[in-house]
Symmetry: C2
Subunit: 417 residues, 2 copies
């Protein structure tokens, strides 16, 4: 009995790491006033055919269910979000600031940083067309990564503007219907041989030198990005971004701002990416709902790799894991005749919020102390023949004291500073 | 574009309720020293064919993937748990106390309390055969429901013992290989016409009266349950349980203790159910790993229905929701020229942990105060012409004061008591 390739078991130590990532995602998103939503894991396949575009549709885990519906595991969130918002947009004040952290499924070739089931934080702002919304989303993206202990020396957000590319392409006479194909060539520029790029661009009547000059001096075209950067500067976050027009993003639905986040070493795949998709809700609702929108996704796999590579981030993660071990208090039953009294102590401690464990059967006191260390307890509470006197021992400092049940929790709080 | 039948969208208000349920589940399980794990959403279908038994296998969302593997969305957790533990049982000290709260998928007819995608808390103790472990799991189950504000007048845990039924059946001459079929008749006793039950039991050579007498006076046979109840009594939790041998549980793999939780009004389906499955790991590992185990599942749908029906539980839920609204602080930009200073205030508040929101574009101050109320903020922080003086206003008490940036967070904490 084996796992499917590209899928993961989360043993407790793996799940704790995942919960750390989720807890930072959720707490930073909440500080930005984002509220959580979610959708179903399974959707009608038309939802993705309508929007996701070529590559993703080829990677769907799709099938026909027992009711003859052609369905698919979700490969991304944006179609579900667009469906949900289009259905009830009048129920919410604009702008909507929504996030979710679900799992996605893509039938991809396995490689470093790519799995077939992965988690991804999605953050979106809907109903606001302004560069101020662009800046808010980018600030959230930056503060999410800062929340993991990553700094400006560890990652950079590369900003680009599809509108600037649109204007460039129109100036060069590229037909509107060929814009997607043209941008696909630009998207692959860094990974393609110069002669190939030159030939492919030539098919659109554009010279490689013109593209390079545009990328090298984007200021004239990309003034919108300067306003966004000024907003980030007011927040003290401009040191995390750079303008880089080589970023165009693969998906067809982006308009305006697009961006990707990379680690400064360039060892990993993109940590996150997103942009504006001002036309998508109109497309999804067959013209009924027009709403500007932008968002990004940040996967868990590449992020976890980077956290392990950056010492400050690793230390922050490990401190969180150490503070969230299985138990804080271990109740040692030193005298089996006192088991029922020990159980009442266990119950009291748990009701007062202490993560508490104990041994189910009679084992030697030394073994129980070993078990206490194994579950990460900071305190042992020894119930024995001296009942109703109880011994409290700090496992770190080895200091001991004797208390009664009434003062137990208070004594633990005193020792716990 | 519609949702699939039996699946749910979680709009922010729905997701908040779900997060409330998850937060109680996670915090109570943690207090009991349980650690979280998870597995993949998709598994090879053999995993379920090997164990889950008749009804569940007929309800699978199964298909053949792009790599010709016959796979299924998970309908329950126990097979995945057994696979995981069997693979690495030597890496963990016994007993294992593990929980998870994943989504499951069953192609069922839609009805109240049943969906095709639902969440379910699973808690299991592995590696301990003692009634003390049985009692610990039941105590957790009870405290989970108490964690939602439910009391002994709201729910009851009905305890039964498959071993006692086994002995009864053997005494009556029921063949071992027919035990499952016999228990299936007992399981349906409450929902079946008397004449039908009499006829069906007759096929096993058992009289209805004998079954009824056994159910009515279980003490002689079910002494194991009395030890479990004594343990719960030491914790002050015996008022939540009752012995009821009509409970036998549908799944084939249960041994020993089995139990189900019902609301006292009997309006809802079972809130939770579980029991011992001491032979399952041996079955799953082809005899390699023998490990006693027990666990339960608690779904989100029936639980949420009950929370809404019980006033104390509803009040507790609503208090949590009120404390977790989108924002705590709303920064009002009273003077557009001060926007960049307002952004620096927003950033500072967020870095100090305040859930903070503001308007992206220039709107009237009154409108901004309305937006502050809409997102649930308790405070407005007004940045205007008086900068660097900032006005802080409590939206509940309408009290106001003036501070500088350095003292803002401290002032908010003072007002927030």
């Amino acid at each position: 009995m084996q796992l499917l390739p590209g899928f993961r078991d989360f043993y407790p130590e793996d799940c704790a790491l995942r919960n750390y990532v989720f807890s930072v995602w959720r707490s930073v998103a909440a500080r930005y006033g984002f509220v959580e939503y979610d959708g179903p894991v399974l959707e009608p396949i038309e939802l993705y055919r309508k929007k996701s575009g070529g590559e993703l549709v080829g990677q769907l885990f799709d099938f026909v269910d027992k009711g003859e519906r052609h369905v698919s595991l979700r490969p991304e969130m944006t179609p579900t979000l667009a469906r949900m918002v289009a259905a009830r947009e009048r129920d919410y004040k604009k702008p909507l600031k929504w996030f979710c952290a679900p799992s996605f499924f893509r039938y991809e070739k396995q490689q470093r940083g790519r799995l077939r089931e992965f988690f991804q934080l999605n953050c979106d702002i809907l109903g606001d067309p302004s560069p101020a919304a662009d800046a808010e989303l980018l600030a959230l993206l930056i503060d999410l990564l800062r929340g993991f202990g990553l700094g400006p020396e560890d990652f950079v957000v590369r900003l680009s503007d599809r509108d600037a590319w649109l204007q460039f392409a129109q100036n060069k006479g590229v037909a509107v219907e060929k814009l997607g194909d043209f941008l696909a060539v630009v998207d692959k520029l860094e990974r393609t041989q110069e002669a190939d790029s030159r030939r492919k661009l030539g098919e659109f009547g554009v010279e490689l030198e013109a593209v390079r000059a545009f990328i090298a001096a984007p200021e004239a075209e990309a003034t919108k990005l300067q306003g966004i950067i000024a907003d980030l500067k007011a927040r003290g976050l401009d040191g995390y971004v750079t303008v880089d027009l080589t970023i165009v993003r693969g998906l067809a639905y982006y308009t305006g701002l697009v961006f990707e986040v990379f680690d400064r070493n360039g060892k990993e795949r993109a940590l996150a990416g997103g942009g504006r998709y001002d036309g998508l809700l109109e497309l999804m609702s067959d013209g009924k709902v027009k709403m500007p929108a932008l968002g990004f996704g940040m996967g868990d796999v590449v992020l976890a790799n980077l956290i392990h590579e950056v010492p400050a981030a690793k230390a922050k993660c490990e401190a969180w894991l150490a503070a969230n071990k299985a138990a804080e208090v271990y109740v040692v039953v030193a005298e089996e005749a006192q088991r029922h009294n020990a159980l009442s102590i266990v119950q009291t401690l748990r009701e007062e919020g202490w993560r508490t464990d104990f041994a189910f059967s009679a084992v030697k006191v030394g073994k129980q102390f070993q078990a206490a260390e194994a579950v990460g307890a900071r305190f042992a509470v020894v119930v024995g023949a001296e009942w109703p006197e109880i011994k409290v021992k700090s496992l770190a400092t080895r200091t001991e004291c004797v208390v009664t049940k009434e003062h137990l929790s208070q004594q633990l709080r005193t020792l716990d500073v």
